[in-house]
Symmetry: C2
Subunit: 153 residues, 2 copies
DNA sequence: CATATTCTCTTCTTCAAAGAAGAGACATCT
DNA sequence: AGATGTCTCTTCTTTGAAGAAGAGAATATG
């Protein structure tokens, strides 16, 4: 279970898995007529929750001009909403709108396929999988954060 | 283990996981100074192996002009190589170069983190995880293919 | 052997998104 | 209360990638 040959194989499988996930992500973005940065920003919002345009700009490594228009596009497409900040009237809070129609429709087939796959596992096996999902999400998020800060240097 | 509440929670975890993976993918592309389409094409090549520019153009939904320049960029960055086809001298075969330096360096931190996570599981648990990776890769690939063909309609 | 088809590449044009600079509104500090 | 700083938005300019049309090289077919 841990011979070098097995390890190489495992690495191959994982690479393939990652490629497939990202491939599907790109295809989804294209099908939604959403730019790469738009989807990127949307992922940030879904992951970290509502935030100000300023912070979103920082996270996406964008200056204020493009950030405003990025939010304009997302808002116009119905993916996010601009809400005035309660404590500071200069600020605006951008929050994702639950279950946007377009993205949901596009992702549906994949979600169904994954659902069917997960249905085939026992409760104990699902525990393992979701434990992994939770840990991996944190790991990827941390790695992405790290890349972003290094990039700025 | 399967109450409605649990299911909603599971869906949430999975969404978060997917967002994190894609977030990291985008951050990696940006750190490599690689465009969205470039990374998309690279994923296709890693997933389906060497192919002609024509087929790559079809897969990326690009016309011949941008396809040529896409390959130019990838080749110049050292990610792919153009090889003359042995059976048809009009054709060119684009093949990924194993372990491109830039992408590898960028992905290293994430890979290490994931490696550490996987090290924490028993052989039986790893079997479950890699079984999932294999099945999910096929599912995502199929879903992406489906999106692409629908998009063309 | 000649014609038609296929494949890649080049060039020109068009379009979307990012950067730069500055204005207006609001908060904070003295 | 006045001055300074912060936040978002607007405008102009620039860059990068995508589409369209056609040329050149090689294969296949009659």
């Amino acid at each position: 279970m841990s011979t070098p040959a097995m390890r190489a194989d495992a690495s191959q499988i994982y690479r393939r898995y990652l490629s497939a996930v990202m491939l599907h992500g790109h295809a989804s973005a294209r099908a939604c007529e959403l730019g790469a940065t738009d989807l990127y920003a949307l992922n940030i919002l879904h992951l970290s929750g509502p935030m100000t345009p300023g912070e979103l700009g920082t996270r996406t490594s964008l200056t204020t001009g493009p950030t405003t228009r990025l939010i304009d596009r997302l808002e116009q497409a119905g993916y996010v909403r601009r809400v005035p900040s309660p404590d500071d009237r200069r600020k605006v809070i951008v929050e994702p709108v639950g279950e946007p129609a377009g993205l949901d429709r596009v992702m549906a087939p994949a979600r169904q396929k994954i659902g069917e796959i997960l249905d085939g596992y026992s409760p104990e096996q699902l525990d393992v999988l979701f434990d992994y999902f939770t840990r991996a999400a944190a790991a990827y998020q941390a790695a992405a954060e790290q890349l972003r800060s290094e990039d700025g240097v």
